[in-house]
């Protein structure tokens, strides 16, 4: 029942979001999305804290969840303190750009490091992956190719802007790099979850993989919305739906991590 709730919770949350955004009048959409984005990040951050608190700070999995917490926490602080809609008094223009860039760089470095750590937990634990290593390598390369296909074009464009002297582009490049690393880890994370199927630890890894898949869809929608002929208000509603699911599944994964390390009860 608890495990079903871990999947049903984020889906229910996404349905609530869909209904709510449909009911919001046009003039209030900007404020609605500020509240929605902050709520989702708070939820994901809470999940990370719940997971990390099960471990000592120096323990491998505890460090990984702390890093993911830093990722969501810094992004949340960025939105609420230096965002274009909500910000501290006087924090506008160049000053806001610099502070936003710092937040995005720190958040993406922490998020990328967490994804790598969770994907490499097998090695850290001294375990040997069951099954064929050729299949595992193929899955990892396929995942990296998909990540590159989704992020690559935007990253190339952002790098060109950076080289051309646009300092704000560094924020986009940092975000692209974080996404590239995170999405490249989807296949290794999924392999860990599949290898532990039937065990309690399969849940956090499965759910965090789901979270990264929804972030991938979020990025895909941003990257290819022109080709998909997506326009407002459908475009923003769709990307925020992916965000809801990504943050919801990150929160579920954190909860699952805490439950997974409990003792056998039979």
């Amino acid at each position: 029942m608890k495990r079903l709730a871990l999947v049903a919770g984020p889906v229910a949350l996404a349905l609530v979001y869909l209904v709510a955004q449909f009911l919001v009048p046009d003039g209030a959409r900007d404020r609605f999305f500020v509240v929605e984005v902050a709520t989702m990040k708070i939820l994901a951050l809470t999940g990370c804290i719940v997971a990390a608190s099960r471990y000592r700070l120096s323990e491998y999995v505890g460090i990984a969840w702390t890093l993911l917490g830093v990722h969501y926490g810094v992004l949340l602080a960025n939105d609420l303190l230096f965002g274009p809609v909500v910000h501290l008094p006087g924090v506008v223009g160049h000053k806001a750009d610099v502070l936003r860039a710092v937040c995005i760089i720190v958040a993406n470095a922490a998020g990328g490091a967490c994804a790598i750590m969770l994907a490499r937990v097998w090695r850290a634990a001294g375990l040997i992956f069951p099954g064929s290593s050729a299949w595992q390598r193929a899955a990892v390369f396929l995942g990296m190719a998909v990540a590159l296909a989704v992020v690559g074009w935007g990253m190339w464009r952002d790098l060109q802007s950076l080289v051309a002297g646009d300092p704000v582009a560094i924020t986009a490049v940092a975000s692209d790099l974080g996404d590239l690393v995170g999405f490249s880890m989807i296949a290794p994370l999924l392999l860990v979850a599949v290898a532990m199927r039937g065990g309690s630890l399969a849940w956090p890894w499965g759910l965090i993989t789901a979270s990264y898949i929804f972030w991938l869809l979020y990025d895909m929608t941003w990257s290819f919305h022109a080709q998909m002929s997506l326009r407002e208000p459908t475009f923003l509603s769709l990307v925020e739906l992916w965000r809801c699911l990504a943050c919801g599944f990150a929160a579920s994964a954190g909860l699952a991590q805490r439950w997974a390390s409990r003792a056998r009860t039979d």
Binding site: R56, E59, V121, L127, I128, P130, S261
Partner: protein
């Protein structure tokens, strides 16, 4: 029929790691710690095997839970 040491350890690992990984882990760590196959492990070998499993369990479920699991196994195995 009383469970053998390897069955008792497997049952505990299976809860966290699932049947496939628990089986692989038991095989790898039994070989590393006492140079035996899991089904050949006896009560005298068990402490060494439990010590070998400690870093893996600490990484995955944390030190506190790892200590609880290993203490419980030590009691169940009457070591």
């Amino acid at each position: 029929v009383a469970a053998t040491p390897h069955e008792m350890i497997y049952r505990e690992l299976e809860h966290y790691l699932g049947p496939h990984t628990a089986k692989t882990a038991l095989k790898v760590f039994a070989d590393k710690s006492v140079g035996k196959r899991p089904e050949e492990i006896n009560r005298l070998d068990a402490p060494k095997l439990l010590q070998a499993l400690r870093p893996m369990l600490r990484t995955l479920i944390g030190a506190t839970q790892c200590d609880l699991v290993l203490s419980q196994l030590t009691r169940e195995l009457s070591l």
